[in-house]
Symmetry: C2
Subunit: 441 residues, 2 copies
Amino acid sequence: MTTADSFALLAPWLITMAPVGELRRDHAVVVRGERIEAILPAHELATRYPAIATLNLPDQVLLPGLINMHTHSAMTLLRGLADDLPLMTWLHEHIWPAEQRWMGHEYVSDGVRLACLEYLRGGITCFNDSYFFPDVAAEVTRAAGMRAVMGAPVINFPTPWAADMDGYFSRAMELHEQCRNDALIEMSFAPHAPYSVSDAAFVRMRDLAAQHDLRIHLHLLETAGEIADSVGEFGMPPLQRLQQLGLLNEQLIAVHMTAINDADIELLAETGVHVVHCPESNLKLASGFCPVWKLQQAGVNVAVGTDGAASNNDLDLLGELRTATLLAKGVSGDPQAVPAASALAMITINAAQALNMADRIGSIEPGKQADFCSIDLSDPDTQPVHEIFSHLVYATSRQQVRNVWVAGQQLLRDRQPLRLDIDQINQASSKWQQRIGAARA
Amino acid sequence: MTTADSFALLAPWLITMAPVGELRRDHAVVVRGERIEAILPAHELATRYPAIATLNLPDQVLLPGLINMHTHSAMTLLRGLADDLPLMTWLHEHIWPAEQRWMGHEYVSDGVRLACLEYLRGGITCFNDSYFFPDVAAEVTRAAGMRAVMGAPVINFPTPWAADMDGYFSRAMELHEQCRNDALIEMSFAPHAPYSVSDAAFVRMRDLAAQHDLRIHLHLLETAGEIADSVGEFGMPPLQRLQQLGLLNEQLIAVHMTAINDADIELLAETGVHVVHCPESNLKLASGFCPVWKLQQAGVNVAVGTDGAASNNDLDLLGELRTATLLAKGVSGDPQAVPAASALAMITINAAQALNMADRIGSIEPGKQADFCSIDLSDPDTQPVHEIFSHLVYATSRQQVRNVWVAGQQLLRDRQPLRLDIDQINQASSKWQQRIGAARA
């Protein structure tokens, strides 16, 4: 175990998310090694922990580390490469050609490192990734000290990561082996989408996921067009096909879900499928609206992700949550939909549940991992302070994140990353800007 | 004339908005006094202006100062006071009682000063305000060195600003007199909404606006409910009533406009009414969706505003533009709707046109006022840099605004305000936090 000494964090506001909506004034959180040991009123700290090293967080809210539930981290290098285009033009004419040209160890390594820097400075401690070379992404993330679930890609066609279906599965199980005893990195299956993955592959990963207790992280029903295509090719809509294949259960993390009706929502609630909402990517590509409030009212667990920077174009989860919350009100026609405190659950405890990690992360409770971020409300842009949850969801920007810890290790201090080298990351970004630019010219 | 000496600004990227979408690499903008004198390639500066003081803006985009087209600046003190509520509950049970209690010189003065700080640090050089005590707001804004159009309120019921309709009009004309020779502050009429302003008052302001060449800044069709109410009370929908009253022309700035059909859009296009879109406020209050792309395609001039911080809850115009652009794609179902370069027009040149100030502001052209902001793209969150317009609209945050000038005067330097005192403003915000909090407890 990599331990820091024990320490205590003292904050004027503590949001535990246990239960959702709980706000404690002037509390201390005591950390021992990688875990939370205790939560107590500030005035009891000196008596109960007389010798403990204490870090004061004036004007700051301490809350669970944020969890970004859908990412393609390496794609950060393609940020803003092609915008204002339909999904298929964007994919076929811009993103896939660029990936075909650049995909490999150096591209993934530099891209994930840039993404980790953006995540950390935005309060994100854990991300759920789906991309090629997850082994390289895992290595970079480990070095950054962050937590992640790396999705092993599965797709019907050959890529630099694997030549055929057997190749995808053998590389996935190698990744599983590598992550087995890793404290911070887990693996999942990341089949691309129902239209690009065969029945045989779905069945195979279903069995492996059940055997090894793994999540399946899938783009699903991003656009209405997928339904007609699936009926044409498989004789039924994607959701019904997945149901027949035995994929609809609490191991499935279904991303996007804009094209769903009330019967689908009922099916999702019954089967325990987790939904990840990526509002800014869906809006930008005009993919449709995920009915977040209906899903939540039906009892479906909904979390939020930024998607990759090529379609968003940032990895700002706090901003994404704001869009998700505002859009949920607009789409449902109900200004009381997804109120602020419960909104925050979508990037903390709901996300942890979706990842099957709620026993370890997503809330601040004794025994859980010490994953936190602190957000400074002293900025004039968040003055005056009448309501904390409203401020966090509707007014705060990620630039107000001051400190971040993962498993008891501080990774960001007063906005400075402690393990990542900004100059080196900027140099790598410049190199890719030149390379990608030259290839397009 | 308050003149700075002549100076030149040198930037790697210059966005003039003349025409929309123009991007010049490595150019200099020469300022003399309050105006732009010349724009020239950087390498010609030394020959043509050998002795000029030059400020280098490395890694920065220089663009026209941003124009926030719908604000209630003083309401910044109510930021986050009440959220997740229906419009009428929010107004009647929270906002109006707070305003009734606190409205006056000190409240407006402190609130506007806090708003000006937030505007400036977000690249906003000009705002179009609608609130009580616009004379006080004008005084604070003048001292801050900013540009604004102050709306003189007109509403059917008595307030601390005026006791009756004659009072509203006499105070409006006093404000007009005060702003007459002001280089930075103009006035407009700001009738609250069709449901709270009488026919007689509309006719009176129509005539005064025509006589003095003034804009009329009106909340219009914020919700579908207004239509039925207007039919009940006036025998016709609000837009038709305003048409009959002679209000539909290019002097009208119509804010919100979520409840409009294709015939309405045609009428707006024919009459030259300007539309101001406030997407985040509309989403948060679940008011409906303004059909921005349809309006633009019909030839209606559309600008963007943040609305007040009590319903948004920030005054982040760059963020508001991002929401506007993404939402326009989602609502129209067209990912090519409102592409990035034209999006930027909604907070610069379109806004200037709406205010009848396009001869002075909204673009960077010789002879126009020297109102600029510069945005630093060296932040890792906007690396790599493939496309400037995409970055500004989809990836940049207002915290990357580094410098701001209004009428040739620098008001923000490396994010530090030069005329506003942050400590003093924070103290005032704390005072109001205590006061408002104590009254609610």
